[in-house]
């Protein structure tokens, strides 16, 4: 019998706010966090983004790093990871043996992209604080140091599926016995690099994104961080912790079609969902809700819909994309949506797919209003560049 993997805590920061409570409040009142950027110093001031309206200085103060130059990616991560540790009630003694698996796509780019301008313009640059946090692994190290974690440290960067893969790996290391308690999730801050990058691919909606809508025009970028505390049954029993949900399935597959675009039939998505279902032993008809990747691009939503249709046939479960709330938070998306999936289980309700009006007519329409219902199993999808597709399945344990 494979050991079980429980979720015993979580923390989240997104454009919906800091903390699980403020995120849940926004979700249930259909309040989107998308707005025009006011903190990101971009010329694209009319491009809607999911920006947390809290400055770096304020974030630094919240985590006790005031006066230092710290990447926003790291600050968001520390906030979310601290909340996860608090809700799980992990003591310093437990933290001493706790692993951290972090997923991020561009790490400390939000600082280095500004410093690099000064380098190119031959201005005075304070190199160490400007560039020491550029690489993705830096944010992991900082979170570990801040929380006093001395277990395994991993950083995953698989574009937009980074933190889904981090959570998947937490499941793998717990099942293999390599760790009993793992903090897993991811983080990404808005940056000029990603905003202009997605803009150059012409897949940003200039207005609010409308996932799964026939008239969808692209995605809105977002920012945030989320972490789960995942534990073995033994660890949970030993410290008398409380399980909130169970991670029952996970799967990763490569679409092998194109560097950025998804295959028309959603091959990778299909395989990832099937792998996750197979590991979980949950039959497709027992999935009550899918938190879809649903970025709002023409390509993703069509191929994801087709893959969902292929997996579930005529009985497609209720589904929605929550990206119209948060924007696409890239490396953090998988973890943010894992938290939303667990909130759906805890509160037995499904959060709506905002801004939807016209069906694509591939599968039934997404859920468009807050829907109280039985939520036993949730499937959460995250797909990224490089054909990287991941699915996670969470189960109610109450």
């Amino acid at each position: 019998m494979q050991p079980k993997v429980y979720v015993s805590g979580y923390g989240i920061v997104s454009s919906l706010g800091i903390g699980a409570d403020s995120n849940f409040t926004a979700l249930r009142s259909s309040e989107s966090g998308i707005s025009n950027p006011s903190l990101l110093g971009t010329i694209h001031q009319d491009m809607p983004v999911g920006e947390l309206k809290v400055s770096n200085a304020e974030l630094a103060e919240l985590v006790g790093l005031q006066g230092l130059i710290t990447s926003r990616t790291t600050l968001l991560a520390i906030l979310a990871a601290q909340e996860a540790v608090e809700t799980a009630g992990l003591t310093p003694k437990i933290l001493d043996n706790t692993a951290l698996i972090n997923g991020t796509s561009v790490g400390g780019m939000d600082i280095s992209e500004w410093a690099y301008q000064d380098v190119l313009r031959e201005k005075e640059v304070d190199y160490i604080p400007s560039f020491q946090g550029h690489d993705c692994g830096y944010s992991t190290m900082k979170v570990a140091n801040k929380l006093g974690l001395k277990g395994i440290l991993q950083t995953i960067s698989t574009a937009c599926s980074s933190s889904a893969n981090a959570i998947m790996n937490a499941g793998r290391v717990i099942k293999s016995g390599m760790a009993d308690c793992v903090i897993a999730g991811g983080t990404d801050a808005l940056s000029l690099f990603t905003l202009n990058g997605f803009n150059s691919l012409k897949i940003l909606d200039q207005a609010y994104c409308k996932p799964f809508d026939e008239e969808r025009q692209g995605l809105n970028l977002g920012e945030g961080a989320a972490f789960l505390v995942l534990e073995s049954e033994q660890s949970l029993n030993k410290r008398k912790g409380t399980a909130l949900a169970e991670l029952v399935g996970y799967g990763n597959a490569n679409d092998t079609y194109h560097q950025t675009a998804s295959s028309p039939e959603g091959k990778g998505a299909l395989m990832a969902m099937k792998k996750a279902l197979s590991i979980s032993g949950v039959p497709p008809e027992k999935i009550d809700y899918i938190n879809a990747h649903g970025t709002g691009t023409a390509n993703n939503d069509l191929s994801e819909s087709r893959a969902i249709k292929e997996v579930f046939g005529a009985e497609v479960p209720s589904y929605s994309s929550t990206k119209a709330y948060t924007g696409h938070t890239l490396g953090a998306a998988g973890a943010i949506e894992a938290v939303f999936s667990i909130l759906a289980i805890q509160h037995q309700m499904i959060f709506p797919n905002l801004n939807f009006s016209r069906s694509m007519e591939v599968i039934k329409s997404p859920v468009t209003s807050l829907t109280p219902m039985k939520v036993q199993h949730v499937l959460s999808n995250s797909f990224g560049f490089g054909g990287n597709c991941s699915s996670l399945i969470f189960a109610d344990i109450s």
């Binding site: 190119l120 560039f131 395994i152 991993q154 950083t155 698989t158 000029l192 490569n254 490089g386």
Partner: protein
């Protein structure tokens, strides 16, 4: 269950890609950092695919392809890559364009190619391998994260995992790292090392007996850490036939000194960073040179810094640290 390296290939600043010429003629360079000696890619990568690839991708695809051919594996059960800075040249290029064009009209290719998982994704695309595809970016433990994952996949039931550790150096990165005082006395470098990690021992396979990674350990603690690692793997210190260390040019480094003093004075000590220079995934090369030493029963004189006992190689110990923070201990055996 044992984990084996069944094929291995490296592109480094010395001759390592061509097995016939492995570390034979020593190359020296006037550059302030070490650049890899790259093969003629035309014979190894389809030019149509190569046209968008930066050096890190070409080096990785070339070594990856060679490993697949050597192990005769068409489709591995997973592709796992570790890289400290990823596709940094394309990152630089796109960033420069954003700055020069003031966020105006930008061409997307560099952005697409800049993503850290471009290397693993590109390999999957070329091989049409839809299995697990992971990229680790964890400072001086980027390759170690990937190796630990590959080993875990063998325990989980995989037969063959394509594993890589890769980073590229650019003049811009060199400039920034120099201003940051990174690398100490060691020249900065680059390279790509790929491996086939398998569950079965074939002819010429090298066993990875264990892997231990730890952060922020003191010089006092390091010898105890190595001793307990060896104990866990049922190996006595006098059974270790050679040491492969990432000393670079800093011979005074207390960590390496402590390790060397654990063994008899005549034990061969190899300094693998003479070949690679220093970078986040330099330690991947320790596994390549270790495999070569065991397979060829050869201690490469160019990188031998002490010891003359060459009475057969069965077990070699690898130890490296990055900036005194990320420490790696491993043991290879024949």
């Amino acid at each position: 269950m044992k984990v084996y390296i069944t094929a291995s290939s490296a592109i480094t600043p010395q001759n390592t890609f061509d097995s016939e010429k492995y570390l034979d003629v020593w190359q020296s360079s006037d550059l302030p950092y070490q650049l890899a000696i790259e093969p003629d890619y035309k014979s190894v990568i389809d030019p149509k695919l190569a046209r968008r690839m930066s050096r890190i991708i070409k080096m990785s695809v070339a070594t990856g392809n060679k490993v697949l051919a050597e192990a005769d594996i068409g489709q591995p059960d997973a592709i796992v890559v570790g890289t400290g800075l990823g596709c940094i040249k394309d990152t630089e290029k796109f960033l420069r364009e954003i700055i020069n064009e003031e966020e105006g009209l930008l061409s997307p290719t560099a952005f697409i190619q800049s993503t850290h998982n471009t290397i693993a994704g590109q390999l999957a695309l070329m091989l049409q391998c839809s299995e697990d595809n992971f990229t680790y970016v964890n400072r001086g433990h980027s390759f170690e994260n990937a190796l630990a994952d590959a080993m875990m996949r063998i325990y989980e039931g995989a037969d063959h995992v394509l594993l890589g550790g890769t980073d590229e150096m650019t003049s811009e990165v060199h400039n920034i790292l120099t201003h940051m005082n990174c690398g100490g006395n060691t020249l900065l470098g680059e390279g790509a090392c790929f491996f086939m990690i398998s569950n079965t021992k074939i002819d010429g396979a090298v066993c990875i007996e264990g892997l231990d990674t730890v952060n922020y350990i003191t010089t006092q603690q390091i010898t105890e850490r190595v001793k307990s690692f060896l104990r866990r793997n049922n190996v006595d210190t006098n059974e270790v036939d050679a040491l492969i260390l990432g000393i670079g040019e800093g011979l005074g480094d207390p960590y390496y000194k402590e390790i060397i003093q654990m063994f008899t004075p005549d034990i061969p000590v190899i300094n693998f960073k003479e070949v690679t220079g220093e970078y986040f995934t330099a330690s991947a090369y320790a596994f390549n040179v270790g495999s070569e030493m065991l397979r060829k029963q050869c201690i490469f004189p160019k990188i031998l810094i002490s010891g003359n006992n060459t009475s057969g190689l069965t077990k070699v110990l690898i130890y490296n640290h990055y900036q005194g923070v990320n420490h790696t201990i491993s043991l290879l055996s024949l």
